[in-house]
């Protein structure tokens, strides 16, 4: 059973932090960041965050590590060859689905 007080406070914390980050520069500061290091840092953050969130969590995102590994390889290949968001997501989903049916058949 989840505690609504905890969940809703957590959601509020997320929303408040996110809003303050967005609102302060546009509504209050209106200055340019002069530090080249900090600008570079902020440029790289999204890629680092998404990678850290994906690995190794992706391997436990499905019913079996093997099907997830198959889906991971499919996603990397599709993305490498420039397919769009939806194609990569659904392509890796399809590979996982097929891999799990094969695993059921043979093991």
């Amino acid at each position: 059973m989840i505690s609504y007080a905890y969940v809703l406070t957590g959601v509020l914390v997320m929303a408040a932090v996110t809003y303050v980050i967005r609102a302060l520069p546009l509504a209050v500061f209106r200055r340019k960041i002069s530090s080249r290091f900090f600008r570079s840092f902020l440029f790289y953050v999204p890629y680092a965050v998404l990678s850290a969130m994906t690995f190794p969590a992706i391997l436990s995102s499905t019913a079996s590590g093997w099907s997830a590994a198959a889906g991971l390889i499919a996603a990397i290949l599709l993305a490498w060859f420039g397919r769009g968001l939806l194609t990569v997501a659904l392509g890796s989903t399809a590979v996982v689905f097929v891999a799990e049916r094969l695993l059921e058949l043979f093991f």
């Binding site: 959601v11 509020l12 809003y19 520069p25 902020l42 998404l50 850290a52």
Partner: protein, 240 residues
């Protein structure tokens, strides 16, 4: 030159909206599979409007993490919006009122930012609000559909769809990593550190949020030190 009307904003937001429906669909599924009711999943999307940030935050909530961990993780993941808002503050009309700035800053996302900065000349509040409105509706709608559909899908499909969100993350980071050595280094370094933490006895006790912070800050700081970006390109970190 086409005038920057509300209507043009809505139209320009449409492709973003379609992309958001699919990403938020996966988020809605993830949230309800974790045990949250549909209305909470929808509430998260409508108050946060971020992809990676709210996925990480929701995972932390599902894991029962402390508020400080939720706040700091959200802060680090969404720090890039600070840069985008800062850049937009140079781009909006000087006549934009304080209230308009406070309201519209809520809608700064990677995609909306990317479309907004491509416009010639200053951005007015009418255009900007249209540009935010369509993606916002798509984000909410997709979340609702995904959250509501979870209970209706068979277990085999639910398992396969578990990878969808990560597939989208890979679709965002792999193409730029292919084209740019520094980005590739960041992606590999952050992913490797994250695996190291998860798989090393003793370190694996470190919970998800702190691990993401540690990996992201280390990899980004290393790359910023090693490969500082040129003046304007620092504003194009395009990932939702």
């Amino acid at each position: 030159m086409e005038t920057l009307s509300f209507r043009k904003g809505v139209k320009d937001g449409l492709p973003i909206c379609l992309g958001y429906i699919s990403v938020s669909f996966a988020f809605g599924m993830m949230a309800t599979q974790g045990g949250l009711p549909v209305w909470v999943a929808l509430g998260i999307s409508m108050t946060n409007l971020t992809s990676a940030g709210q996925v990480a935050g929701t995972n932390l909530i599902l894991a029962g993490a402390g508020y400080a961990e939720i706040a700091i993780t959200t802060f680090v993941i969404n720090l890039r919006y600070f840069l985008m808002s800062l850049s937009l503050s140079q781009k909006v009309e000087d006549t934009m009122t304080g209230l308009q700035r406070w309201v519209l800053s809520f809608g700064v996302t990677d995609e909306i930012f990317a479309v907004a900065v491509q416009q010639k000349g200053a951005i007015n509040a009418r255009y900007f609000s249209g540009l935010i409105l369509t993606p916002y509706c798509g984000w909410a709608l997709g979340t609702f559909l995904g959250a509501a559909a979870t209970g209706l899908l068979p277990a085999s499909l639910r398992s396969a769809l578990g990878i969808a969100l990560y597939g989208m993350f890979l679709a965002i980071i792999i193409p730029p990593a292919r084209g740019s050595r520094p980005v590739r280094a960041v992606v590999v370094l952050a992913g490797a550190l994250s695996c190291l933490i998860a798989w090393t006895p003793g370190l694996s006790g470190l919970s998800g949020g702190w691990s993401i912070i540690l990996c992201a800050v280390t990899a980004s700081a290393f790359a910023a030190f090693r490969w500082p970006v040129a003046e304007e390109s620092g504003e194009e970190g395009a990932a939702p």
